[in-house]
């Protein structure tokens, strides 16, 4: 269960959002500047709401009334940012291991490396990766944190067509294998329909609709899926 009730101010922009969703994968959808990334940052603990309450999967992360504000490091979330944010002085293996709990087994590491096809990249520095590879490493790094929920900020943005297909295929595999509670921020309808179970449409910092994928498809004109990966839609 994803329960958000938050109000925050960023300069002139005001965000007021209240929603409760039972979805395993919820998309926050809207145009640039509507407040979806601010919402994600607030959930991650990187932006402090003026007031409200944030609870993911029954874990209370923020409650202004109860003076609860769990630090980002202890929220137990895996966050994949739009710009991969890999640590440039560490190689891929070190980036992947950065957030892994000490008790994490080698098997978990190998599973994630295999799932995201990162074995050949482990010795490389982030500067030697393509955009799609960097995004996959960022996803793997977030997964190895062993989070109770995953936050994805525009995971396919700024990638060329082949890289989009590559990353999307891996996100779908991840969804099948891990079944994590996921909050996805996107302004791409095709991305939302492929990855989410429910969609919160946001405009100007307000919730316009909370709807299932079929209702979302009916409400938003979905462009033809610009992806080449065969079976991508079917597996979603």
């Amino acid at each position: 269960m994803i329960a958000l009730d938050l109000a925050l101010q960023r300069g002139e922009f005001a965000l007021e959002l209240t929603l409760t969703s039972p979805a395993r994968a919820l998309a926050l959808f809207g145009h640039s500047g509507c407040g979806k990334t601010s919402t994600l940052l607030a959930i991650a603990g990187l932006l402090r709401p003026r007031c409200g309450r944030i609870s993911i999967g029954g874990t209370l992360l923020f409650d202004s009334a109860a003076h609860v504000d769990v630090p980002p490091a202890r929220r137990g979330l895996g966050v994949v940012f739009q710009e991969a944010r890999l640590f440039p002085h560490l190689n891929v293996r070190e980036n992947l291991r950065y957030g892994a709990p000490r008790a994490a087994t080698a098997g978990t590491f190998d599973d994630v490396v295999q799932l995201l096809e990162l074995a050949a990249l482990l010795r490389r520095r982030p500067g030697q990766l393509s955009g799609g590879q960097a995004r996959r490493v960022a996803i793997g790094r977030a997964l190895l944190r062993q989070p109770h929920a995953l936050l994805l900020d525009e995971p396919l943005a700024n990638l060329h067509r082949e890289a989009r297909a590559e990353v999307l295929a891996h996100l779908l595999a991840l969804k099948r294998q891990f079944g994590l509670t996921t909050i996805l921020v996107s302004h791409q309808p095709d991305e939302v329909t492929a990855l989410a179970d429910q969609v919160a449409r946001i405009e100007d910092g307000r919730l316009v609709a909370l709807e299932g994928i079929d209702a979302f498809k009916a409400a938003v004109a979905i462009p033809a899926m610009p992806l080449d990966a065969p079976g991508v839609r079917a597996t979603g």
């Binding site: 991650a44 603990g45 990187l46 630090p71 980002p72 490091a73 202890r74 929220r75 979330l77 895996g78 966050v79 940012f81 710009e83 991969a84 944010r85 890999l86 640590f87 440039p88 002085h89 950065y98 957030g99 709990p101 982030p126 500067g127 030697q128 990766l129 955009g131 960097a134 790094r141 977030a142 944190r145 700024n158």
Partner: protein
């Protein structure tokens, strides 16, 4: 040209020791102050910043005199240090303190710039991966500031190496204890027949300053655009 005399070698070795110890001692405090300036906001920050830069702005003799008042045999801290057997007035440790104080602002400025050049988004990413403030600092901020740190250390070392006014005011000129290269040079210039020695020490001072400046420039030139959270 004749090789360095014994007295010149002693002065040179003492200057290296005083500069290295001085810079090493000021480093932890400089790191803390630079981080505060780069990463926090607090009431009175401009005043704090101004105080940190004072040794750079004040006439060095004034700084030396303040050190003498505070750390001299009759000063509040000096008396206490004397009581526990750690007297620093008129000793090489006093010269190292003067070097530390004079080099401190350069170190703070260089480190502050280095910390500010590290993209905070990387620190935020580290936080979401479970890292607390100390781990973020030592595993992300500091390694990514390394070139700025080395540049700052080089400049601070050069500043400490050339320190004259505060040192001679605070700890005077005692051969083997406080007579550093600049003081020895000044005395050679003031002594008839000391021109040869003065020239030799001048060349050494220029060489050290040039090496430090080149190292700093190399670090600063090659350190750009590496610490940002780009696509990769």
């Amino acid at each position: 040209m004749m090789p360095l005399s014994h007295a010149e070698v002693v002065a040179l070795a003492l200057t290296f020791k005083v500069s290295l110890v001085g810079v090493a001692c000021s480093l932890p405090l400089a790191v803390g102050c630079a981080w505060l300036l780069a990463r926090t906001r607090f009431f009175g920050k401009p005043v704090f910043e101004g105080l940190l830069l004072l040794p750079l702005i004040l006439p060095p003799v004034v700084t030396g005199y303040i050190l003498l008042i505070v750390f001299g045999h009759h000063g509040p801290v000096g008396q206490w240090l004397d009581a526990i057997g750690l007297s620093i007035a008129f000793r090489w440790t006093g010269a190292a303190l003067a070097a530390a104080v004079m080099a401190f602002p350069l170190l703070v400025v260089a480190l502050r710039n280095a910390f500010e050049s590290v993209d905070r988004k990387l620190e935020h990413a580290a936080a979401t991966l479970g890292a607390g403030p100390w781990r973020i600092f030592f595993s992300i901020t500091l390694p990514l500031s390394l070139r700025g740190l080395v540049a700052g250390l080089a400049l601070a070392f050069a500043r400490a190496f050339g320190e004259f006014g505060a040192t001679i005011t605070f700890v005077s000129s005692i051969p083997g204890q406080t007579r550093t290269l600049p003081i020895a040079l000044y005395e050679l210039i003031s002594t008839p027949g000391g021109e040869g020695g003065a020239l030799r020490l001048t060349l050494v001072a220029v060489g050290v300053a040039l090496a430090a400046g080149m190292l700093a420039a190399l670090m600063l030139l090659r350190g750009g655009a590496r610490n940002v959270a780009g696509e990769a």
